[in-house]
C-alpha cells in the first residue's frame, strides 16, 4: 500500500484531500490527513466580526464535515517532519510514513515577534482580527468605544490576505459612520509598504479610497516595537505614532513544526518551486497555500487555484510523468469598501490588477478595479460557495490560470 500524507486541513489541505480521494485507487493508496484543530474557520469572515456583521457561529464548522470517506483523519499536532526517512512524527507520539507528502500547514500571526505587542495592552486596546479570539475581543471593545485615534498597523510583509487591512479600514469607516461616531475618530493606516497596496495601479485606487474616506495613510513605517504604557508604536528608525485603539496585523509565520524540521526560511515558509509547487529540497514533497514561500498572495483563492495545479502535478509525479502544470500566481480578491459596495481584483505573478469585467469578459457580473454593489454581493455570496463548493473540490466557474480576456490594458 502506498501512502499519501497531507499535513494541514485548512482551505488548501481540505481541497486537496477532496480532489484526490475520488481518483486515487483505494486498493493502492492510503490517504491520511492530519490537523491539530477540529474546527474549520472561514477566515475571510473574521473581518466582519468586529462590526457585528458576522458572529463566531457564522464562520465555524466541524472539519469532519468536509472529509471524504475512506480517508484516515488524525487530529494531532505535528512534532517533526523527517524527509530523509520519509516520515512525520506527531505530537501524540504516532509516526506516519509516506511516499508523497503534501504540506498545507498555513501561516499564523506571531505577535510575540514584536517587542511590547503582547503586553499590558494586548486585548485591552490592542487587537488583531486574524484570529477568532482577536476578532471577537475587538467586537466587544468596539461596542463600548467612544472614539479616539484608531491606528491599524501592518508590522511586516508578507501577510495573509494583503487586502484585509484595507477592507478593515473601509468597513470601520462605514461602521463608525453608522454608529454616529465617525467625527469622534481619527483613522490612520500604517504600513511598511510604499503605498496602500503592493501593486501600483491597485495601490493608487485603494489610496484614493482612503483619501476619500478621510483615512490617513502612513507608508514605509516598519514597526520595531510597541510602547503599550504610552500607547505608541515605534518604528525601527524611531518615528512614533500614538493610538487609543491599535488594530494590528502582526508578523505572519509558517508553522513551528516547519522550523523544527529545518524545512523553512526565516519566516518558516517552505522554499517551493513557484510553478510546479514541488518542494525545492525534496522531490516527493509538495507544498500548497500559505505554507509556501511563493511571491504570490497568501489567500484562500490562491490556495484554490494552486490546488488545480498541484492535483495535476502530484498525479504526474505518482505516475512517473514530468510535472507539466504551472501555477501562474493567480489571485482573485473581493475587497469590501463599505456602505454595501466592493471592489474586485484579479492578477498573477506578471500581470497587476487591471480594470474590466469578470468572470465573463465584457459581461461580468463583477467589475474589476471598480467599486460596485455587485462586487459586494459577490463577497457575501462567497461564504456559501466556500463551504459548499470550494472546500469540497468542486469545479468553480473561474479558471485557475488568470485570463486576460475581459481586462483592459
Amino acid at each position: 500500500m502506498k501512502k499519501l500524507l497531507i499535513l494541514g486541513a485548512g482551505t488548501a489541505g481540505t481541497i486537496m484531500v477532496n480532489k484526490l480521494a475520488p481518483v486515487l485507487d483505494q486498493s493502492e493508496w492510503q490517504i491520511t490527513i492530519v490537523d491539530h484543530h477540529e474546527t474549520h474557520y472561514y477566515q475571510p469572515g473574521f473581518l466582519f466580526i468586529p462590526f457585528g456583521i458576522y458572529t463566531k457561529k457564522d464562520v465555524i464548522k466541524p472539519k469532519r464535515d468536509f472529509f471524504p470517506t475512506g480517508v484516515e483523519v488524525i487530529f494531532s499536532g505535528i512534532d517533526i517532519i523527517e524527509p530523509e526517512k520519509n516520515q512525520v512524527k506527531l505530537t501524540d507520539g504516532k509516526v506516519l510514513s509516506y511516499d508523497y507528502l503534501v504540506i498545507a500547514t498555513g501561516s499564523q500571526i506571531k505577535p510575540e515577534e514584536t517587542e511590547g505587542l503582547v503586553g499590558d495592552g494586548w486585548r485591552k486596546n490592542i487587537f488583531d482580527f486574524y484570529t477568532i479570539d482577536g476578532a471577537c475581543a475587538l467586537a466587544h471593545f468596539l461596542k463600548y468605544w467612544e472614539g479616539g485615534r484608531m491606528v491599524l498597523n501592518v508590522v511586516e510583509m508578507p501577510i495573509k490576505c494583503p487586502v484585509a487591512p484595507l477592507e478593515f479600514e473601509y468597513l470601520a469607516e462605514w461602521w463608525l459612520t453608522e454608529q454616529g461616531l465617525r467625527d469622534k475618530v481619527e483613522i490612520e493606516f500604517v504600513t511598511p509598504l510604499p503605498g496602500a497596496f503592493t501593486k501600483p495601479k491597485a495601490s493608487q485606487l485603494f489610496g484614493d479610497f482612503l483619501d476619500k474616506k478621510n483615512i490617513k495613510l502612513t507608508p514605509e513605517f516598519s514597526t520595531g516595537r510597541v510602547d503599550a504604557a504610552n500607547n505608541k508604536i515605534i518604528s525601527w528608525d524611531e518615528q512614533d505614532i500614538a493610538y487609543d485603539l491599535l488594530v494590528t496585523v502582526p508578523t505572519n509565520m509558517g508553522d513551528d513544526a516547519i522550523a523544527r524540521s529545518g524545512l523553512g526560511d526565516e519566516l518558516n515558509f517552505i522554499p517551493t518551486d513557484k510553478e510546479t509547487l514541488q518542494s525545492k529540497a525534496h522531490e516527493n514533497i509538495f507544498v500548497i497555500g500559505d505554507a509556501t514561500d511563493l511571491p504570490s498572495s497568501k489567500a484562500g483563492s490562491v490556495a484554490h487555484f494552486q490546488a488545480d495545479i498541484l492535483y495535476e502535478n502530484l498525479l504526474s509525479a505518482m505516475e512517473g510523468r514530468p510535472l507539466r502544470a504551472q501555477f501562474d500566481g493567480h489571485a482573485n480578491c473581493y475587497i469590501e469598501s463599505g456602505f454595501g459596495k466592493g471592489i474586485l481584483i484579479d492578477f498573477n505573478y506578471d500581470t497587476e490588477p487591471l480594470p474590466g469585467k469578470f468572470p465573463l469578459p465584457g459581461i461580468g457580473p463583477f467589475s474589476l478595479l471598480e467599486e460596485t454593489k455587485m462586487n459586494h454581493y459577490g463577497k457575501m455570496m462567497f461564504r456559501w460557495m466556500y463551504w459548499n463548493l470550494l472546500l469540497k473540490g468542486a469545479e468553480l466557474p473561474i479558471e485557475s490560470q488568470m485570463m486576460m480576456a475581459g481586462k483592459r490594458v
Partner: protein
C-alpha cells in the same frame, strides 16, 4: 535603460536606479551610489551587510531579507536602519549593485 559614467566606467541602471549587472560593481561605485542615497561614508559595518547580500545573491539567487540579516547575526535590525536610513532593504541593495528586492504581494 539609463547608462551612466561612474569613475570612468559605463554602468547600466534600470529605471529605478538599480544596477542591471552586478558583476560590473566595485567598492568605488558603491561609494558613489551611497553618496547619492545620502550616506556620506561607507564603513566596515556597511560593507558587512553589502558583502553578505552579494554573497547570498551569488549563492542563492535572491537577496536576504532584513529578518534574515538579523537572524544570521549579520546585523541587528535596529542597526541596519541606522546604517541605511529610510528603506534599508532597497537602499542596501541599490548600493550593493543588486536588483531591486522582490516585493511581496
Amino acid at each position: 535603460m539609463p547608462t551612466r559614467e561612474i569613475n570612468g566606467q559605463s554602468i547600466e541602471f534600470d529605471n529605478e536606479g538599480f544596477m542591471t549587472d552586478r558583476t560590473a560593481w566595485n567598492r568605488d561605485i558603491a561609494a558613489v551610489l551611497a553618496k547619492e542615497e545620502g550616506i556620506e561614508t561607507l564603513t566596515d559595518r556597511h560593507f558587512d551587510v553589502i558583502d553578505f547580500m552579494r554573497k547570498e545573491v551569488e549563492e542563492k539567487g535572491t537577496a536576504p531579507s532584513i529578518r534574515r540579516l538579523n537572524k544570521l547575526n549579520v546585523v541587528p535590525t535596529k542597526e541596519l536602519y541606522q546604517l541605511f536610513p529610510g528603506g534599508p532593504a532597497k537602499k542596501a541593495a541599490k548600493i550593493a549593485g543588486l536588483k531591486k528586492p522582490e516585493g511581496c504581494i
